[in-house]
């Protein structure tokens, strides 16, 4: 069974630029999560999708972050414009339902200069 795929693995941008991350969850998983993990901290949930609907985006900085899940499968997370404090690893995870084990992708390491 293929795992959660993410791209790119690394991205370096300057502040005020835009960036987008892509995630392909495990086939058949209804729930998809985006996390932000700042160096030295645990992952923090940004947004949770159930199929293609948003379940929880309370921690998403909506003035600069946006996310969508097309047809309940792939998802993209966008930052526009980026700030220095957005430097972090962005992790995508999926699970069959909403109370199951979450399976994580390798993450995208974003550096904002």
């Amino acid at each position: 069974e293929a795992g959660v795929a993410q791209s790119p693995r690394y991205k370096i941008i300057e502040k005020r630029q835009s960036v987008a991350f892509w995630c392909n969850p495990i086939s058949g998983h209804a729930t998809l999560y985006w996390y932000q993990q700042i160096l030295g901290q645990g992952p923090k949930l940004l947004i949770q999708f159930q199929n293609n609907g948003v379940v929880d985006d309370s921690q998403l900085p909506k003035d600069r972050f946006s996310a969508e899940r097309l047809k309940g499968v792939d998802s993209t997370l966008k930052i526009q414009p980026a700030k220095l404090e957005d430097s972090a690893v962005y992790l995508c995870a999926s699970s069959p339902g909403d109370t199951d084990t979450q399976y994580f992708g390798p993450g995208t390491r974003l550096t904002v200069l």
Binding site: V4, T31, G40, Q41, G42, P43, K44, L45, Q48, V55, D56, S58, L91, A93, S95, G97, D98, T99, D100, T101, Q102, Y103, F104, G105, P106, G107, R109
Partner: protein, 114 residues
């Protein structure tokens, strides 16, 4: 905050020794999970323990849960250099939270020396 908090922040041991990491949390939970993260990688699920369970085993891993103290421990027996990683506990919350949402602590950095 509903986050779990791991203790200690860092742990350094020799191969063959046992490693114990603790997690404390604040609100009532449905389940508690432990994840491992190797440097530069995503998180790997290790074990899930439900609120009505007190102890669970998986290979060299033993997890305990004490809901009265709102705490859990992860024991890795006969540690190996390959166990070097960060270990996170993650809790859900029964009330006041989206179903399935997990709260992660800051993690324990375990280093196992050959």
């Amino acid at each position: 905050s509903q986050q779990g908090e791991e203790d200690p922040q860092a742990l350094s041991i020799q191969e063959g020794e046992n490693a114990t990491m603790n997690c404390s949390y604040k609100t009532s939970i449905n389940n508690l999970q432990w994840y491992r993260q190797n440097s530069g990688r995503g998180l790997v699920h290790l074990i899930l323990i439900r609120s009505n369970e007190r102890e669970k085993h998986s290979g060299r891993l033993r997890v305990t849960l004490d809901t009265s103290k709102k705490s859990s421990s992860l024991l890795i027996t006969a540690s190996r250099a390959a166990d070097t990683a960060s270990y996170f506990c993650a809790t859900d919350a029964i009330r006041g939270s989206t179903l399935g949402r997990l709260y992660f602590g800051r993690g324990t950095q375990l280093t196992v020396w050959p």
